[in-house]
């Protein structure tokens, strides 16, 4: 979180109703948020719906962004994630129709990633490496699929108490490592 984050003044201008600033913000961050939405939804059309909804929210809620609580990108990723998880939960309640399963696409990483993205990823990977397998898996399933504790225990075929403690300890270790 840095004061020099160029997204911060853009969000501030959006809060004042500046549509041009919003368009600039959209052009800057939409490919990134699209990647996030696609990771959650696994399907192009659903990811686009989530992305559109996310930007409508970003526009209407820009005045509620608090810079001392989260970096702008974190805030926007969270909006996208929450919408994606709502959709995933709704869809879990209704089974997939015929053919929809086939439309699921595999998201292999794009060929070139920017340099700082790689550095960021290395730091994250280093920290994820400090977790044991169950901790890593339970965190990533909880985060990317929005499963509740009991659903998670079901999914991983493990007792509720163990899943809770994997996540708690794993998160604690992850955050300490990222902050070090």
């Amino acid at each position: 979180m840095s004061d020099a984050d160029p997204l911060q003044p853009l969000l501030a201008q959006c809060a004042l109703g500046d549509r041009l600033a919003f368009e600039t913000l959209y052009r800057t961050v939409s490919p990134r948020l699209h990647g996030v939405a696609l990771r959650f939804m696994g399907r192009q059309d659903l990811a686009e719906e989530v992305l559109q909804e996310a930007f409508v929210r970003i526009w209407y809620n820009a005045s509620r962004y608090e810079s001392h609580l989260a970096a702008p990108m974190t805030w926007m990723v969270n909006i996208t994630r929450n919408l994606a998880i709502d959709q995933l939960r709704k869809r879990r309640e209704q089974p997939l129709a015929d053919g929809q399963q086939d439309a699921m696409l595999d998201d292999s990483p794009s060929a070139h990633e920017q340099l700082d993205r790689e550095r960021e990823a290395r730091a994250l990977n280093r920290c994820l490496d400090t977790l044991d397998g169950m901790q890593r898996q339970s965190i990533s399933v909880a985060y990317f699929q929005g499963l509740s504790c009991s659903e998670l225990a079901n999914h991983m075929a493990a007792p509720l108490g163990s899943v809770k403690s994997w996540i708690r300890r794993g998160l604690e270790r992850l955050r300490r490592c990222l902050e070090s």
Partner: protein, 225 residues
């Protein structure tokens, strides 16, 4: 429960951030957050740590229709019908030509003012942009964005609906959603007021009753200029 222990606050904020709390606990925590600034900061740290899980995801180019859909939902839309050629048009043309010469000499040419500037996007029930409409002097130009297939025995019909008024037909949407819809004088006058544009599914040749008979598939609100 005692929410004051540092370790507990930290653990609860972590549960909340990743989404493990059941609905009731979540609502209780929401209420705590409102009253407790330090707890919001604690939550912020967790959210930052978790957001880093998405940091390594590849960027994906976004198709244009997503932006069109966002714009359709946040902007009052204006469909500007340019004036039809009146008898003094030549004079105006001359004046415009002069203005352009001057602008070019001054090195400032506002290209935007010369083209069609106004268009409206109609969206489907799921808020996805379906149809783009541009206004010209005597017709509307329609471009499909993501249009559902229409059976050959049916047509799409475009309606103008003034607030509190009955729908007035503007004509049929050309097959495949692309083409012109000619406007008569009364229809042109209609488009200068705030109204909703809607597209309904009708029998081939348009509604037999003069009012929409099938479901409304797409719509968009227009503001006045």
């Amino acid at each position: 429960m005692n929410y004051q222990t540092t370790a507990l606050r930290r653990a609860l904020a972590a549960d909340y951030a990743i989404g493990l709390m059941p609905a009731t606990a979540r609502r209780r925590f929401d209420a705590l957050l409102l009253a407790d600034a330090a707890l919001r900061v604690e939550l912020g740290h967790w959210q930052d740590a978790l957001a880093s899980l998405t940091g390594a995801l590849p960027e994906r180019p976004v198709p244009d229709h997503v932006w069109a859909g966002i714009k359709a939902r946040i902007e009052p839309q204006v469909l500007h019908v340019p004036a039809k050629k009146p008898f003094w048009m030549n004079l105006r043309l001359l004046a415009a030509a002069f203005a352009i010469v001057i602008a070019v000499l001054a090195g400032v040419l506002y290209q935007r003012d010369l083209g069609v500037e106004y268009n409206a996007t109609l969206v489907a029930a799921n808020q996805q942009p379906a149809l783009q409409i541009k206004a010209f002097a005597d017709h509307l130009q329609v471009e499909p964005l993501t249009l559902a297939a229409v059976a050959s025995a049916q047509d799409l019909e475009l309606w103008a609906i003034a607030p509190g008024g009955k729908p007035i037909s503007l004509g049929l949407v050309p097959a495949a959603g692309k083409g012109r819809i000619p406007l008569n004088e009364a229809q042109r006058a209609l488009l200068t007021a705030p109204l909703t544009l809607a597209v309904s599914l009708e029998p081939r040749g348009g509604s037999p009753t003069g009012q929409p008979t099938g479901p409304v598939l797409y719509q968009g609100a227009l503001a006045t200029r």
